[in-house]
C-alpha cells in the first residue's frame, strides 16, 4: 500500500510556515538554542481555548489544521504524534512549584498539560476526533514510529492519517543537558555549524505535521516509499551495511538517489559518522543538511521530512541547505539519514509522484 504525503506544515526556527518564505533565506541565530518562530496564535485559536495549551500544543493544533486543510480532510482516521521530551515547560512549572512550595497550593493545569499525550489529545478534542490516538516517546525514534504506525494503518485499509513530530526546549532543561555534554558549550552561529568540529550539538525545537494518505491528490507532495530504524549500531561498517540493505530492499541504487539529506548537528563525534557514510557511498551526490536551520531535537527528522516533501513537490532546493557544490538536477528520490547521538538511527526514502 502506497503512502502519499498529502499535507505538510511546519513551525520551526525558520520561516517554514510558508515554503516560499522559507526559500527566501535562512534565519540566522547566535543563541544557546534555536527557538521556534511564534505565529499569531489569535489567528487560529481563541484565548479561552488557548488557556490550557502550551506553546507546543498550540503549534501542534495550527500545523495539524494546515496539513489537514491541504490534504482536504476534516477528520483523520488516526492521530499519531511523536515527542521525545513531551511538554517540558508544564512539567517544569508543576515540578518547581511542588519543590519550592513544599507540595502546597498546587493546581492541576500544568500537571494535566505535562502529560506526554497532550498534543495528540488536544488535537482530537478540538476536532472531536474519536479515532485512533497514539503518542510515541522514544527519543530519536518517536517520529519514526509515528510514521511507521501511520504506514501500517494505510496498509490496514485506512485512508488518511495525521502524523506529527513535536518537541520543545526550555531554558532550564537546556542548561542541564548542556552541562551533561549534549549541547555546545557556547552559543554559535547556526550558519557556521559545520565549521565547528567540537563536542556537542546545536540545540533546537520544532513542530511538524503531515497527512499520509492512501490516495494521490492534486496537492500530493511526494510518496513515502520506505522507512528503517536501527538502534545503537556497533560501528560505521554496520551502518553502511544497513544502508545498502535498505536500498536493496527498496529496489533502488545509489545512482537513483538525487539528493541526500543528513542530520549533521555540529557534534564532532556524531558528524564524523555521517561524513564516513557519505564518503563511502555518496561522494558524487548533492548532499544537504538541516540542523543548522532548526537545531537538533529528538523529533528533528520530522523537519527533514518536511523539507524533503517540499523539495520534491516544488523542485526548489535552496542553496543554504547544501553541504557540497554538487549540482542538483531534477529531484526524483531523496534519502534522509538521521541519527540522535548515534543511539537512534533512521533512513527514510521519499520519491516524487
Amino acid at each position: 500500500m502506497k503512502a502519499y504525503i498529502n499535507g505538510t506544515a511546519s513551525l520551526s526556527p525558520q520561516n517554514s510556515l510558508d515554503y516560499n518564505e522559507f526559500l527566501k533565506g535562512i534565519v540566522e541565530y547566535e543563541d544557546d538554542f534555536l527557538k521556534s518562530i511564534k505565529p499569531n496564535f489569535k489567528d487560529y485559536i481563541k484565548p479561552i481555548e488557548a488557556r490550557r495549551m502550551s506553546k507546543t500544543v498550540k503549534n501542534g493544533i495550527i500545523c495539524s489544521e494546515i496539513a489537514m486543510l491541504e490534504a482536504e480532510i476534516n477528520m483523520p482516521d488516526a492521530i499519531i504524534v511523536g515527542t521525545g521530551l513531551g511538554i517540558l515547560s508544564d512539567t517544569e512549572k508543576f515540578l518547581e512549584k511542588m519543590l519550592n512550595d513544599n507540595e502546597q497550593y498546587l493546581t492541576p493545569t500544568s500537571f494535566i498539560q505535562s502529560t506526554h499525550n497532550t498534543v495528540a489529545a488536544q488535537i482530537a478534542l478540538r476536532i472531536k476526533c474519536h479515532n485512533y490516538n497514539f503518542t510515541y516517546v522514544n527519543r530519536g525514534f518517536s517520529f519514526e514510529t509515528a510514521l511507521q504506525d501511520g504506514m501500517m494503518h494505510l496498509n490496514e485499509g485506512k485512508k488518511n492519517v495525521l502524523i506529527g513530530g513535536a518537541d520543545e526546549m526550555s531554558e532550564h532543561y537546556f542548561h542541564i543537558v548542556r552541562k551533561n555534554g549534549r549541547w555546545k558549550k557556547i552559543a554559535i552561529k547556526n550558519t557556521e555549524l559545520l565549521n565547528y568540529k567540537t563536542e556537542g550539538a546545536i540545540c533546537g525545537e520544532g513542530v511538524n505535521f503531515f497527512v499520509l494518505s492512501s490516495e494521490k491528490k492534486k496537492n500530493t507532495y511526494a510518496e513515502l516509499k520506505s522507512l528503517k530504524t536501527f538502534y545503537k549500531p556497533k560501528n560505521d561498517k554496520e551502518i553502511n551495511k544497513k544502508l545498502l540493505s535498505f536500498l536493496e530492499n527498496n529496489n533502488i541504487n545509489i545512482t537513483d538517489i538525487d539528493l541526500v539529506i543528513t542530520g549533521q548537528s555540529g557534534d564532532k563525534k556524531g558528524d564524523a559518522i555521517y561524513d564516513n557514510i557519505l564518503n563511502n557511498n555518496f561522494i558524487e551526490k548533492p548532499v544537504a543538511y538541516f540542523k543548522h536551520l532548526t537545531g537538533d531535537y529528538q523529533t528533528s527528522s520530522s523537519f527533514a521530512f518536511w523539507l524533503g516533501a517540499n523539495i520534491l513537490k516544488s523542485q526548489k532546493v535552496p542553496d543554504f541547505i547544501m553541504q557540497n557544490n554538487k549540482k542538483v538536477k531534477k529531484v526524483k528520490n531523496i534519502l534522509i539519514y538521521n541519527h540522535y547521538f548515534n543511539i537512534n538511527n533512521s533512513f527514510m526514502l521519499l520519491s516524487v509522484i
Binding site: R52, I79, G84, L85, G86, F94, L95, E96, M98, L99, N102, E103, Q104, L106, T107, P108, F111, I112, S114, T115, H116, N117, T118, A120, A121, Q122, A124, L125, I127, K128, C129, H130, N131, Y132, N133, F134, T135, Y136, V137, N138, R139, F141, S142, T145, Q148, D149, M152, N155, E156, H172, H175, I176, V177, K179, N180, T229, F230, Y231, K232, I343
Partner: protein
C-alpha cells in the same frame, strides 16, 4: 499476514506480588496491596494510601545483579525484572533468533529520580548520570540492553491506556510482517510529582478504593510493571509452544470530551469496546468476563458503567476491578490486567472487586465480590481508559 497473535510469556511485579505466581496467590486470597506510603518522602505520607511494590531499588539492583553506577531508575528496575520473567516464561533462549522487538509504556518515566535530583542537575555534578534517565525512552533502552534486543524498540505514553496500547501495537507489528515476536508492557513508579498531580485533581481516595461502589471516593495510585511476549502463529507452531492465551482483539478510540474527565455517557469507552469486538469477530454474548478499568473515581466508574450498558444492554457479563488489589498502576495497568485476565482464563477463575458494598444508584451494575472458581471462560474483555480521552480495549481468548 499472521492471523492469530499468541501470548507465550508473562511477567508481573505489583503491590500484591513480585512475580506472576505471587500475584496469583494474592488475588485468590483476596490480599490487597494498598497501604501507607513508606517509600516516598512527602507531606501526604500519612494521609494518602497507595499500593507500593514491596521491593526497594537496592533490593532490585541486587536481585538483577546491576550496578548503581548504571543509573537505573525505579521504573527501569521494575521493568527489567518483569520483562525478564516474561522472556523466561516464554522459554526464549536466543532473543535475536527471530525479529524481536520491545514496546514499553510509561507515564512518569524517570520522574522519581528527576524530582529528587532536580536542583543537583544544575548546581552539582552529583547526579549527572540521572539527567538522561528523565526521558521516557531511557527505561525501554535499559530493558532492551538487558535482554539484548536490537531489532525494534519504541515507547508509548498515552496515560492509563499506555500498556494496553503497547499490546495493540505489538500485535499489529506482527500482523504487518515487521516483527515475529514482541515484548510488550509498561512500568510506572510512585513519585511526588504524580501523587501531587492526581491530588490536585481531587480524585485520590483517602482510604482504600471502592470501585463501582456508590460511596466511592476516588482511586489509589499503584506502582508496578508487567510484560507479555506476543508471538506470531507461525512462530508458535514452529517452536511447538503452548501459549497462555490469544490476543484476539483490540481497539483504541478517543472520547474527545475533556482533557481528563470521561464523557458522562462513556462514548469513547463504548466505541473502543464495540471496535474491539468487531476486531475479534466476537459478539457481545461471547464475552464471559470484563476486567473493567474501574479506578474508583466518581467519573470513571459512572462513565464506564454507562458504556457497558450501551454495548451489552441488559446482558452485562460478570465483571470486576482488580485495581482494588493493586491500585491504579497507570501505564502498567493495561498489561497487569491483561495478565490477570490470562490467569482467569487459565485457572477458570474470576477475581473479586474488594470492598464493594453498595451498588451505584445510577444503574444496576454489581461487580463480582467473591472469588469464583471452576467457571468456564472463553473470552475476556479488558478496559483501560486514560487522560486525553484515550481508551483502549483488548480481548483475550482461551488458546
Amino acid at each position: 499476514m499472521s492471523k492469530k497473535i499468541y501470548i507465550t510469556g508473562i511477567g508481573a511485579l505489583t503491590a500484591i506480588g513480585n512475580n506472576v505466581s505471587e500475584n496469583f496467590i494474592s488475588l485468590k486470597e483476596k490480599k490487597s496491596g494498598i497501604g501507607k506510603i513508606t517509600q516516598l518522602d512527602t507531606i501526604h505520607k500519612d494521609e494518602i494510601p497507595v499500593a507500593e511494590v514491596k521491593l526497594t531499588d537496592d533490593e532490585l539492583l541486587k536481585e538483577l545483579d546491576l550496578k548503581k553506577e548504571g543509573a537505573y531508575t525505579r521504573i527501569s528496575l521494575l521493568g527489567i525484572k518483569a520483562a525478564k520473567e516474561a522472556i523466561k516464561d516464554a522459554k526464549i533462549s536466543d532473543i535475536n533468533e527471530y525479529r524481536t522487538g520491545i514496546i514499553s509504556a510509561t507515564t512518569g518515566a524517570g520522574m522519581v529520580a528527576s524530582e529528587k535530583y532536580y536542583h543537583d542537575f544544575l548546581n552539582t555534578d552529583f547526579a549527572n548520570d540521572f539527567i538522561k534517565t528523565h526521558e521516557a525512552a531511557d527505561h525501554t533502552e535499559k530493558i532492551a540492553d538487558y535482554l539484548g534486543i536490537t531489532e525494534f524498540m519504541t515507547t508509548i505514553s498515552t496515560a492509563c491506556s499506555s500498556s494496553a496500547n503497547a499490546m495493540m501495537l505489538g500485535a499489529r507489528l506482527i500482523k504487518n510482517g515487521i516483527l515475529d515476536r514482541v515484548i510488550v508492557g509498561g512500568a510506572d513508579a510512585h513519585s511526588k510529582f504524580t501523587l501531587n498531580g492526581f491530588n490536585t485533581l481531587m480524585i485520590l481516595d483517602r482510604k482504600p478504593c471502592k470501585p463501582f461502589d456508590n460511596d466511592r471516593k476516588g482511586l489509589n495510585l499503584g506502582e508496578g510493571a508487567a510484560y507479555l511476549v506476543l508471538e506470531s502463529e507461525e512462530l508458535v507452531k514452529k517452536e511447538g509452544k503452548t501459549p497462555h492465551a490469544i490476543l484476539s482483539g483490540y481497539a483504541n478510540a478517543n472520547d474527545a470530551y475533556h482533557q481528563t474527565a470521561s464523557s458522562p455517557e462513556g462514548y469513547g469507552g463504548s466505541l473502543a469496546m464495540q471496535q474491539a469486538l468487531d476486531n475479534s469477530n466476537l459478539k457481545i454474548e461471547d464475552i464471559d468476563y470484563i476486567n473493567v478499568h474501574g479506578t474508583g473515581t466518581a467519573n470513571n466508574d459512572l462513565s464506564e458503567g454507562r458504556a457497558m450498558i450501551t454495548i451489552f444492554g441488559n446482558n452485562i457479563p460478570k465483571f470486576s476491578s482488580t485495581k482494588a488489589y493493586t491500585g491504579h498502576t497507570l501505564a502498567a495497568a493495561g498489561s497487569v490486567e491483561a495478565i490477570y485476565s490470562i490467569l482467569s482464563l487459565q485457572n477458570k477463575m474470576i477475581f473479586p472487586t474488594l470492598r464493594f458494598e453498595t451498588p451505584m444508584e445510577e444503574f444496576n451494575l454489581i461487580p463480582e465480590t467473591d472469588l469464583i472458581e471452576n467457571i468456564d471462560i472463553k473470552h475476556i474483555m479488558s478496559n483501560s481508559f486514560g487522560f486525553g480521552g484515550n481508551g483502549t480495549v483488548i480481548i483475550l481468548s482461551k488458546s
